[in-house]
Symmetry: C2
Subunit: 496 residues, 2 copies
């Protein structure tokens, strides 16, 4: 523990920027053990490569002020990470991230370390999060109360690994109507979110997966933890190149409605090609329909599952449409996968709350879910329009893509400029990620080999999470930050 | 598919007992895909060894009548299991369980296969289940609604792997008050039940566990799935022999308040010995306080965790006190285990519903949880008294133990009689298990070696799950069924 200023490692050399401001963005919980959370967040920042080896940490005082913590709490967290080997501390040169502290992450990461987001970012434009302020508290409460009152007694007993029958019936009807999924309740297995479903599927099909070249590192991590090392499939302006699925792949993970994160939808011919691949090779498609409800510009695109329910697992969840806090998702399975997935689910451990399941069944059946989705679709659409307008006004030379659906857009950038754009956005107090962060490490590694695999650069701009009142300012701030960057014309993938 | 009677495999030999009655108990869901559930239940019965190789299955017609299914549904399920190799079908001799269909289970199971429980059992005396009809729907609804209305906006965002701060605060105060646990909110990690918590702990401490000689096979399975092969510790009338923890054990799993399933509480000297073991060896105790709230006869026994919070993980859940359908549990961790457990928890997959967490925080803080526990304690206590009285009246020579706490008792039996007692109970329409089923396979295997390890026989009688109105009849039925059995005097373990 440190109690005098001269021992403050960043303060000694005055190199921490104007006002001692720390250029280190950390997400701490608003309540609870923030002190412990700080050490965890720092560790995670090193582990993920966000804090590169050699980076100088901000002074205790500056970080403490940014985070609203006592200075000693920051000093303690630094000391802890020094003791654990993540940081190094040297008299006169401050605390720095140890070189090689995150070797695994370093190996897989793109050559240039991503600059850190600012502490106390004012605008949340991270992708993947719906607006938490829009949770329909009243209607959900009504459904929860009604469902609890009407539930049969056995609902409070040990339960069925498939999930509540009420919910599976409601989902079968809803998914058929809204997403063109062909199923009955008996082919649905409720899970606690897409990652849970993906783990179940990976344990049932433990090898030879193909994944889109761009995707969520978290999902790749789930597969890797299950021992699966997936082969990347190129992605272009028509979605995944389903004509180029590696020969030895047996399972193909796709985001057909709105490729994540590039935002394109899979061309009809490629949807057919994917199903044809599955039929001729005996393969399985896993369709991650993570934001299929939010389509703005065109007729909703139905699920690929509807083309061949025996060859496609359809997966959905509440994480984008309602809230990731509810922890509910679902798999729609071909007949022969139901039993194996239930066996993988095992004895109750990762089952979802029966109370939430009953509430959701009522919420869907009384029409509240549709109303919520419609309301959010209108809200996100107007945010998207606002974002596109701001960018068109201030940075007309940059192309915004992936905007026909979902909760995020991609601001395409010329090669070699993503890092500078991220730094500009972060300096403007905006939290967001670059497109490069979502490229599969294996695609990076084999970048030379398949000519069709092209690295792209861009910013992935989430427009759902920011508070409604602050969104216009956020969009303006982003547009201003990127206005000075060059055009994206040279960055178009050759294959689209 | 079969449509005429002569093809009904059991009907051809008339050996299925009076009225074609099937002696096969299967738990099918009340609603939904019961047809598919039947095949699953049959498969599970074979896999678990409950249906031994060679056992003749009941005729389609009889099982269909018992389960309220179409005859063809049963015929289809049989055909499916024949196709999968679980069953064999021979003209004239009916359908039988294939020999060696469940080799793993057979190897671990006691020598004598447990006779199957009756189809359509009239009395549910299986252990481990609270009364589902007693779920406090009104008070829970009130808490859920209030919690939802008062939750901060961030509660509907991605969340904290520790769990909601509101719940961790409420639990820290409650566990201190009700169970003598010494902790603060920052040492609590919310999980989705004890099995989930146990898996997290096993992944953090992946080797050299010691477990009580008697315990839940499901928990042993969780450990084994994590690659842990635990060493058994003898159990006698004073609980686990904590003076005999194997030298190489690093983690010790205990049920101190109410040893599961024998029902004894750990003697004060052995509690101290366990903590002493942990201190001198650097070991860790995992305290599974599965039914600690339900103590009837004596002053509540506090948690062992209170003796040394740095050496004991305290684990609890709602599964006995409220309902297994809510899927909420908690770990109270020593400081140095918080970070590793959070790392093991990973990115959101197995997190518990934030809505349920908020509801439970309110439920605990407004006193509704205490009121529910008090109400259930009174109800279970009167059931226990009724059970003890029925057994004292009809089978006074049999000893009932483990009745000072919890939701189950043990009816001790003389060596060699458990199988007959189970059969008698099943014949009387009662579902329950024998004590032998809970003995750790490793203890069976090394039965000769440590003289202190003694096999016991008995019935584990759950008195919580049956409907309130039916319980008196269930108790009478059990007492009548076992009245003819010999006394347990010769079965007392020498070491107690």
């Amino acid at each position: 523990m440190t109690s005098d200023d001269t021992a403050d490692p960043g303060a000694t050399d005055g190199a921490a920027g104007p006002g001692g401001g720390a250029d280190l963005h950390l997400d701490l919980p608003a309540h609870g053990a923030r002190r412990t959370a700080l050490a965890r967040a720092l560790r995670e920042a090193v582990r993920s490569g966000r804090l590169a080896g050699g980076t100088r940490l901000p002074p205790y005082r500056a970080l403490a002020a940014d985070l609203g913590l006592a200075r000693n709490a920051v000093a303690d967290a630094y000391a802890e990470l020094v003791a654990e080997g993540w940081f190094t501390a040297r008299q006169g040169s401050g605390t720095r991230v140890a070189e090689g502290a995150a070797p695994a992450a370093t190996a897989a990461a793109p050559a240039a370390p991503v600059p850190p987001a600012p502490a106390g970012a004012r605008h949340d434009m991270l992708q993947g999060k719906p607006d938490p302020a829009s949770f329909p508290r009243g209607p959900w409460s009504t459904s929860a109360r009604r469902a609890l009152a009407q539930a049969p007694t056995e609902a409070f007993g040990p339960g069925d690994p498939r999930g509540r029958p009420e919910l599976r019936r409601a989902l079968a009807a809803y998914l058929a109507r809204a997403r063109g999924v062909r199923t009955g309740p008996e082919n649905i297995v409720v899970c606690s979110g897409f990652a849970n479903g993906l783990r179940l599927l990976a344990s049932v099909r433990p090898r030879d997966w193909a994944v889109e070249e761009y995707g969520l590192p978290f999902h790749h991590g789930v597969l890797e933890a299950a021992g699966v090392r997936p082969h990347p499939v190129p992605v272009d302006g028509g979605g995944a190149r389903t004509d180029l699925v590696p020969a030895r792949a047996r399972t193909l993970l796709l985001t057909p409605a709105h490729q994540f994160p590039t935002g394109v939808s899979l061309l009809p011919g490629r949807r057919a090609a994917a199903v044809e691949w599955a039929r001729t090779t005996g393969g399985l498609i896993v369709e991650d329909d993570y934001d299929g409800e939010f389509r703005y510009d065109r007729k909703p695109i139905g699920a690929v599952q509807g083309l061949d329910p025996a060859r496609v697992v359809y997966a959905g969840s509440l994480s984008k449409s309602l809230s990731p806090a509810v922890r509910l998702g679902w798999l729609v399975l071909p007949d022969d996968l139901v039993e194996p997935v239930l066996a993988a689910k095992g004895l109750r451990e990762s089952w979802a709350s029966a109370l939430d399941q009953l509430a959701l069944a009522d919420f869907v059946e009384c029409g509240a879910y549709d109303r919520h989705v419609r309301r959010m679709r209108a809200r996100y659409r107007s945010r998207r329009d606002l974002l596109a307008a701001a960018l068109a006004a201030r940075a007309p030379h940059l192309r915004v893509t992936g905007i026909s659906a979902g909760l995020h857009a991609v601001l395409e950038l010329p090669p070699g400029t993503e890092r500078a754009a991220l730094a500009a956005a972060h300096a403007a107090g905006i939290s967001l990620d670059g497109l490069s962060a979502y490229r599969h490490p294996a695609a990076r590694a084999q970048a030379q080999a398949p000519a069709t695999t092209t690295a792209r650069e861009g910013l992935v701009v989430g427009y759902a999470a920011a508070p409604e009142a602050a969104f216009a300012r956020a969009a303006e701030a982003l547009a201003t930050a990127v206005a000075a960057l060059g055009g994206a014309d040279t960055a178009q993938p050759a294959s689209s």
